[in-house]
Amino acid sequence: MLTDHNWILTVGVFLPLAGVLIMLFIPKEEESLNKAIAIITAAVTLAVGIATMAWFKYGSDSSKLQFHVDVAWIPAIKSRYIIGLDGVSMPLYILSMVITLLVMIYSWDHIPEPGNAKAFMILMLILQTGMAGTFVAQDLILFFVFFEVVLLPMYFMIGVWGGEQRQYASLKFFLYTMFGSALMLVAFLALFFQTGAQSFSLEYLYAHSSMISTNVAVWIFAGMFVGFAVKVPMFPFHTWLPDAHTQAPTQGSVILAAILLKLGTYGFIRIAIPTLPQAAVKWAPVIGVLAVIGIIYGALGCLAQTDMKRLIAFSSVAHMGFVMLGISTLTQFGINAAVYGMVAHGLITGMLFFLAGSIKNRYHTLEIAKMGGILKRIPRLGWILGMCAMASLGLPGLAGFWGEFPAILSAYSPFHNDYVHLSQPLFRTLMVIAAIGTVLAAGYLLWMFQRVAFGEASPLIAGDVDADGNDLHAGAHAGDHAGDHLVGERGHGAVPFSVGAAGNADPHAEVHDVGIFEWIAWTPLLIGIVVLGAYPDLMFKVLNGSVTKLLAPVQALTGK
Amino acid sequence: MNAVMIAIIEPQPIWYLMLSALLFSIGAFGVLVRRNPLIMFMCIELMLNAVNLSFVAFSRIWGDIGGQSTVFFVLVVAAAEVVVGLGIIVSILRRKPGATADDISLMKG
């Protein structure tokens, strides 16, 4: 019944490392060659991913683990190399490949300071292996290894290529995540021990979850909860996120928002809930409440921000709150919505960070107050920003809606069966508060868009003053200087493709609109946002079977 | 009555054990409070000899030769330690005459 192409996942996961191996032998002075190899590797990886999609059996088979591989890895600790793909993993697995490729294309002319494209690209390829591996691993230890592999590359990406506060932000990111994963590992081991110390295979653990008494399970779940919640990030553990996002280079922000955060929510769906259903029921109200606090807190945080990137980061906290709310209902409807929300958030927020990075490249500032009239100066970029803001606030017809709306709706009737049920009044209250959150979301996003996009072009954008407000015309070479300054102070980071002649004294010709590599990198995301918004069933169909299967242990609870 | 007196006066193995414990404590105390490396070193020797005494006494109690043969190993090893230890201590005293353990603290933290 299963296909014979089960080698394809292994290839898809480890192919980026082959690219790394090649790049190790190329001197770092060969920047273009290094970038080209990295992009080709990512493209071939995506091709493998598309082949996976093509060979994937849809319909009723989508709930089964396909391309299943199960070979010995570390027999001494009963951990095996088990990988497989089902309906829940597939969209995220492919998303990771798409995002990596697009980010690399974007990097072609946007390598942040201090350069060294080779190291930058290698780190992204390693990240790709870690992310893809996490989504296909079906063994706890294998999952843990992949989950951790992404840590160091991201740490260096933020710490080396980030902004002013990069060292602080990177360390904060690392310590938070590591704290979570250390507790998570302890929880995994406890789970292993409590189920008879037989196997780390998820399939085995799903089947034997009832061996654990509820009291113990609640504690084990607590360990996993911290591990995954830090990554999501949920409300009390979220403080690393705004710093990491603000300081990370554009590429880092995009990968972080689009994929890394999903590792946490994915962990809840794939591991925490099905292996410990009895504890999940106890924890669900806590998760739900924290999720809603996250929604409101994130929204209020957004309203207080003056920095565009920080605003998007806080909006991530809010959006992941919706995802977690969907998960906390433990219903098929809610978790479907959550996975949909994960993918939609990946596309939309990834796109928003791209835009923020490009705006920063042009104006050297992300202070919302200092911008204005983007639509007049760079209309295409401005309209894309508008569309993404709409998508992000959950406008029906765009992808964001199908993540948010069903998640809120699912809280209307949270999980219940003949023996166990979640508190309906609580979740309905949460539903109402979350709905208020969407209004706030509309508020801050429209407010941000209005201040950035509409109005007269600010003096800054007109090219008369630089980011610090100095009048550029004051200097003797003001005209020459202004052009250089606006398009690329950060050296090779911003080679203009559609820019007018640099040094032109006419301020209105300085700021270029969307460049060619930006178009290539963004178009697929924009198409994704529209297509997923217009035809949500495309993904719900793939998800539903697997979600049902993952929830089976919860359904089977007898309340003993 | 008489027999009890004799039993008390005649040295019992336990006496040696007590003496050994006493010597060991004196030695350990000396290492901890004295600051002259040579004296500390002598105190350690005292501890080692307390150990020897203890081994011999136990050996006697058990009527087993093992404990006594252990003493020879300890003696030989202690001799080797003396050679090395004096070498090290002399080398430091030569560079810093009259150094105490408190003086030997270039590194801290």
Binding site: L171 | S54, G67, E81, I88
Partner: protein, 500 residues
């Protein structure tokens, strides 16, 4: 008259012990090499002294051969001298680790000695003697053999620590190491005499048969406590760790690497021998003691390491804290996860040896250029020596326990052992360990930050020239660190079958 005396059976006839030369082959080869080094040193002229390091290196590899032949010749334990000296799978594994670690130390020492104008012959003689002591420790199953092995490995190490005899710091390192080492030996010996007094035998198996939980005499309890305290000094467990940072900082760097890896490992091997063979039923006594020691060792080591500015001193505290992680599984030995604990410790020792030696190799390589031991001297290492920078990052990540580098397997094993004990305080230890592995990243991360994110301190970006022996050491350690993390089976398949 002599003949009549001999013929009389007043004295029991002396039966010479049966010696299994195959089982003793590693020790014999090593002893031969030691003599060869000493003789060669006598006859070689100064300019050719480099031959000595070659002899020492190949000698260590030669001693490895009988270990392989013994390993393939079956899993039967070969017991000699009435059970005082046993060659089994466990001892073969730890001997192998000691020999390979010793080989890497020889590689590290080569240029350091040649360029530093030190006495080479004596150095390798002492180094090999110390390694011989460790190899013997792997097989020691008797209080006396343990004591002799311990001194055999310690006495040369005292001298090696004080090797730079014109440097006061090195003198200080040697003196502290010596005084506290001998003090610890005395304490341990006193404990041994008490154990002997309680059980009437020095053979560990015999002691194990007599000591039973619940019915233990105060003498035996005191004996166990003293013996463990004695070894706690050797493995620099808190609160007996004070000597370690000073000794590590003052000793020549290759010797610091040696002490922090091999010598410490030998202490753990002795502890394993004692706990698994002599006190398997003494859990009530040693478990709480070692548990508290493990928790405080890893915590204090980490906290102290956070405030260091000297790399070697930071690594000294890091090695103390890693020692706490190695102690962690010992705290549940004797219970139902005994087997897991043994696997965990031996795996940890192997991984830790590869990683820490590699890191010291990087330190030696970098200090050839910077001539400084300060953390800040590593600034911007990645920009002018990318290979060294990446290797250092890998070793640091491994020490921090980040997959896919070896360290995670080690930490994982330790966690697994304490959790499968199923006791509440096993879980408590695991949580303490988990929190500590995060704190540890504070200083491992600060080194990484220097390497990747800080500017080069003096602007001197000339590449670092590393001699071939150092390169070999870096490659061996780097390869081992990565391989142990990706396919942990290469060590686990051995460490999982060992028994005591």
């Amino acid at each position: 008259m002599l003949s009549t005396l001999l013929a009389s059976d007043v004295v029991a006839p002396f039966s010479s012990p049966k010696i299994d030369y195959h089982a003793l082959a590693p020790e014999l080869v090593l002893a031969g090499v030691i003599v060869a080094v000493l003789l060669a040193d006598l006859f070689l002229e100064e300019s050719k002294k480099w031959v000595l390091s070659t002899i020492a290196g190949f000698g260590l590899l030669a001693a490895f051969i009988p270990i392989v032949t013994l390993a393939v010749s079956g899993h039967r334990a070969r017991s000699m001298f009435g059970g005082a000296y046993v060659v089994d799978t466990y001892s073969l594994l730890v001997k192998g680790i000691f020999l390979l670690a010793g080989y890497v130390v020889v590689l590290l020492s080569q240029n350091y000695l040649e360029e530093g104008d030190y006495y080479q012959g004596e150095y390798y003689f002492l180094l090999l003697s110390s390694i011989l002591g460790m190899v013997m420790m792997g097989s020691s199953r008797d209080l006396v053999t343990i004591f002799v092995s311990l001194e055999f490995l310690s006495i040369p190490a005292y001298m090696l620590a004080a090797w730079r005899k014109r440097d006061l710091k090195s003198n200080e390192a040697g003196t502290k190491y010596y005084l506290l080492g001998v003090f610890a030996s005395a304490v341990m010996l006193y404990g041994m005499s008490l154990l002997y007094g309680d059980t009437g035998t020095t053979i560990l198996k015999g002691i194990g048969a007599k000591l039973q939980n619940g019915s233990m005499s105060p003498v035996a309890v005191l004996g166990i406590v003293f013996v463990i305290i004695g070894f706690a000094f050797k493995v620099s467990a808190v609160p007996f760790h004070n000597w370690a940072p000073d000794t590590y900082q003052g000793a020549p760097t290759p010797i610091t690497a040696f002490l922090s890896v091999a010598s410490k490992a030998a202490g753990f091997v002795a502890l394993i021998n004692l706990i698994y063979v002599a006190f398997p039923h003494g859990g009530d006594v040693f478990q709480p003691m070692i548990g508290v020691m493990a928790a405080s060792t890893m915590t204090l080591g980490n906290v102290m390491a956070l405030r260091q500015t000297n790399i070697v001193r930071m690594l000294a505290y890091s090695s103390i804290s890693q020692g706490g992680f190695i102690l962690m599984p010992l705290a549940v030995a004797g219970g139902k996860s005994s087997g897991n604990a043994l696997t965990a410790i031996v795996t940890y020792l192997a991984v830790y040896a590869a990683t820490n030696l590699g890191l010291f190799a990087v330190i030696i390589a970098v200090s050839r250029k910077t001539r400084s031991g300060e953390v800040s001297s590593w600034g911007g290492l990645f920009s002018y020596a990318p290979l060294l920078g990446v290797l250092a990052t890998a070793f640091l990540a491994s020490l921090a326990g980040i997959p896919p580098l070896g360290g995670w397997v080690a930490k994982f094993g330790a966690f697994r052992a304490v959790i499968t004990s199923g006791t509440n305080w096993g879980y408590a230890l695991a949580i303490v360990g988990a929190v500590n592995s995060v704190i540890a990243f504070g200083y491992y991360g600060s080194l990484m930050r220097e390497i990747w994110m800080k500017p080069v301190p003096d602007g001197d970006t000339a590449p670092i020239r590393t001699p071939s022996s150092l390169n070999a050491a870096l490659m061996i350690c780097g390869g081992a660190t990565l391989a142990l993390g990706v396919v942990p089976g290469i060590i686990l398949r051995f460490s999982d079958i060992i028994k005591l």
